[in-house]
Amino acid sequence: MAGKSGRTISAEPRGTVKKLLFSWESAMVLVFLGVILLGNVISPYYTLKNVFREMPKYLSEIFIMLAMGYILVLGDIDISVGSIVCLSATLACIADNAGLPFVLVVLICILTGLACGCLNGFIASHFTELPTMIITLGTQIIFRGIAEVSLGPGGSISLQNKDAIKLLSRKIGIIPVSFFVVLVFALIFIVVLGRTTFGRKLYAIGSNSTAAKYAGIDVQKIRWIVFTVAGTMAGVCALFFLASTYGASTTTGQGFEMEVIAMCVFGGIATTGGKGKLIGGFFAAFIIVCLRIALGQINMNTQLILVIIGAMLIVSVLIPAIGNALRLARKKAEKA
C-alpha cells in the first residue's frame, strides 16, 4: 500500500546537537558551573570537602524532587509531601521508642510514605473532577494533623538508638553515603522517565490526557502509581532526615513541597504538564544547594538567601515570556 504520490518523509533526526546545546537542560549545566565558580570566588572555604559536608541536609529533599518531577509532567501537583515526611518520621520515631528493631523502623518510615501516597492516588484517580491541588491540600492538613495527634502535647520526639541510623549519615572518604543513594535514585528516575514506555505515557497524559486514554493508556492507574511513588519517596526523605536530626516534630518537613516544586520548575518542568526533563530538575536542585552553601559560607543573612532563590525562580519562568516579548518587538520593528 505504498503512498500514491510516492512522497517521502524524512525520519532522520536533524540538528539534535544544536537542539541539545540550546536546550534548557544545558543552560542548567552552565548555571551550575557558574555557581561553582561563584562559590570559589566569594568564599575561600568552598572546597569539595566542605561542600560535601554541608550537602546532606539538602540532599534528602532531592528524593522528593525526583518524584515531584513525575507528578508535574502528569500535569498534577502534590503539596502534601512535606506533611508525609513529617508523619513518616514521627511514626518511625514512635516505633523506635517502642523498641522495634532498626529494620522495622526503616520499613515503617517508608511504608507510611507509601500509604499516604496511595491515599492521594486513590482519591485523584477515582474523583478525577477534583483538581489534585485541592486533594493534596486536604491530605496535607490531615497527615500533619495525624502527626500532631500522635506526637501529643509535647509536639516532638527523638530517636532512642541513634547508632543504627548513623550508618545512613556515614561518609565514604569525604562524600556522604546519601549522595550516592541520591545519584542511584536519580539515575533510575531520569532513565525511567526519559527512556521507557512508562515515561512516555506520563508525557502523553501530561500533554493531552484524553488522547492518551483513546490511545489505550490506563491514565488513572498510572496517576495512582505516580502519587504512590511520590509518597514513598517522601518516606525515604524522612529516613535520611532522621539520619541527620535524630528526631521529628510537628514542624518537620514544613515547606518541603514548595522547595521541591521550585527545583522542578527551575529545572524546566512546566506545571501545566507534558514538558521538561528530570535531568533539568536534578541540576536545578544542585544549583540551589551549592548556591545556598556558597552564600552560607559568607554568612549572608539566611532569609536574604531565600529572597534570592525566590527571585531566581520567578526570573526562570519569565524567560519564555521575555523571549516572546522580544520576538514580538522585533517583528513589529520589521513590519514598521
Binding site: 501537583i77 486533594i135 494533623g145 495527634v149 514544613q254 520567578i314
Partner: protein
C-alpha cells in the same frame, strides 16, 4: 421522580449557601448542647477576633480563585507590610493609625500588582509566581526587621485599635464583607471576574480585558493582605517577621469549604464567609467535645476532603438523574 421532590432536592444541593448554612446550624446546635455558654456574645466576638485575619484574606482569595488562580504569597505580604508599619512605629516615624493602614494597604497592593502583571502578561502559572514571591516577601520581612521586633510598647497607642473588646477589627471585617458583597454581585467589575473565570475566551470575545481583570484581582488580594498585616500587628500588639507563617492554607481551605471552585467561575462572598466560620467554630468547639486542640488540623483536613468529595458525588447523582429522565 415527580416535579415537587426534584425541586426541593435541587434547591438544597443546588444552592451552595443553603447547604452550608444547614451544616453551620447543626454544628452550633450540637455545641450549644455540650456547652450552653458557647453562644454567649463574648465568645462569638472572640471567634470573629481570632479568625478576623483569615476571614479578611478569604475575600481576596475568593476573587483570585474565581479567575481559576491561586495566591500562596499572601501571608508573606502580610508579614512584610506588618513588619514595615511595626518598624515605622518603633522608630517613631509615624503613629497615626489611619496613615499606617494606608501604607500597609499600599505595600500590599503593589505586591499584589506584581503578582497580577507577571501572571497575566508574563503567562506564568499562578502557583509558581506566588511561590516565588512567598519566599521574597517573607525574606524581606526578616531583612528589614534586622532581628528587631516591634514590641508591645512600641505599638502601644496603635494596638488599642485592635485590642480585644475594641471594635476596630469587627468594623474592618464588616465593611470589607459589605463592600465585596456589593462589588461581586452588583458591579460590572465583579461580574467580569466571574466571566473571566468561567470562560476566558468568551469573555475576551465579548470585549472584556482579561489581563487587566486578572491583574486587578491579584492587586486586591495584595491590598487585603497588606491591611491584614496591619490589623495583625494591632490585634496581637506586636510585629515579628515570622508572623502568620504557613497560614495561607487556612485561607484557601475556608474558600474551598465555602464552595469556591478551584477551576474558576463558581463561588460567592456568603459561601466564603460561611466556610471561614465553619473552620473557626470547629476550632473553638473541639476542646468542648473533649478533643484536645491537637485534633484541630486533623478534623479540618477531613472536613475539606469530605466537602469537596460530597460536591462531586452530588453532581454525579444529579447528572445520572438527568440521564434517567431522557426517555429512550
Amino acid at each position: 421522580m415527580n416535579k415537587k421532590e426534584n425541586g426541593i432536592f435541587r434547591k438544597i444541593t443546588g444552592s451552595r449557601e443553603a447547604s452550608l448554612l444547614i451544616v453551620l446550624i447543626i454544628l452550633l446546635a450540637l455545641i450549644e448542647l455540650l456547652q450552653p455558654s458557647f453562644l454567649a456574645p463574648q465568645n462569638i466576638a472572640q471567634i470573629f477576633r481570632n479568625n478576623a485575619l483569615t476571614m479578611l484574606m478569604a475575600l481576596g482569595m475568593l476573587c483570585v480563585m474565581l479567575t481559576a488562580g491561586i495566591d500562596i504569597s499572601i501571608t508573606s505580604v502580610l508579614a512584610f507590610s506588618g513588619m514595615t508599619i511595626g518598624l515605622l512605629q518603633k522608630y517613631d516615624v509615624i503613629h497615626n493609625t489611619l496613615l499606617l493602614f494606608l501604607i500597609g494597604a499600599a505595600i500590599g497592593a503593589v505586591c499584589g500588582m506584581l503578582n497580577g502583571l507577571i501572571i497575566s502578561k508574563g503567562k506564568v502559572a499562578p502557583i509558581i509566581c506566588t511561590m516565588g514571591f512567598m519566599y521574597i516577601w517573607r525574606g524581606m520581612a526578616y531583612v528589614i526587621s534586622n532581628n528587631a521586633w516591634a514590641s508591645a510598647e512600641d505599638v502601644s497607642g496603635f494596638s488599642d485599635f485592635g485590642k480585644s473588646g475594641a471594635p476596630g477589627p469587627y468594623i474592618i471585617l464588616a465593611i470589607a464583607y459589605v463592600i465585596f458583597f456589593i462589588v461581586m454581585k452588583w458591579t460590572r467589575f465583579g461580574r467580569r471576574i466571574y466571566a473571566v473565570g468561567s470562560n476566558a475566551e468568551a469573555a475576551r470575545i465579548s470585549g472584556i480585558n482579561v489581563d487587566k481583570t486578572i491583574t486587578l484581582v491579584y492587586t486586591i488580594m495584595g491590598l487585603l493582605a497588606g491591611i491584614t498585616g496591619v490589623l495583625s500587628v494591632s490585634i496581637y500588639g506586636s510585629a515579628q517577621p515570622n508572623m502568620q507563617y504557613g497560614k495561607e492554607m487556612d485561607v484557601i481551605a475556608a474558600c474551598v469549604i465555602g464552595g469556591v471552585a478551584m477551576s474558576g467561575g463558581r463561588g460567592t462572598v456568603v459561601g466564603t464567609f460561611m466556610g471561614a466560620l465553619i473552620i473557626a467554630v470547629i476550632a473553638k468547639a473541639l476542646p468542648l467535645v473533649g478533643l484536645d486542640s491537637l485534633w484541630q488540623n486533623l478534623v479540618k483536613g477531613i472536613i475539606i476532603l469530605v466537602v469537596v468529595i460530597l460536591n462531586v458525588v452530588t453532581q454525579r447523582v444529579m447528572d445520572r438523574r438527568a440521564l434517567a429522565r431522557r426517555e429512550m
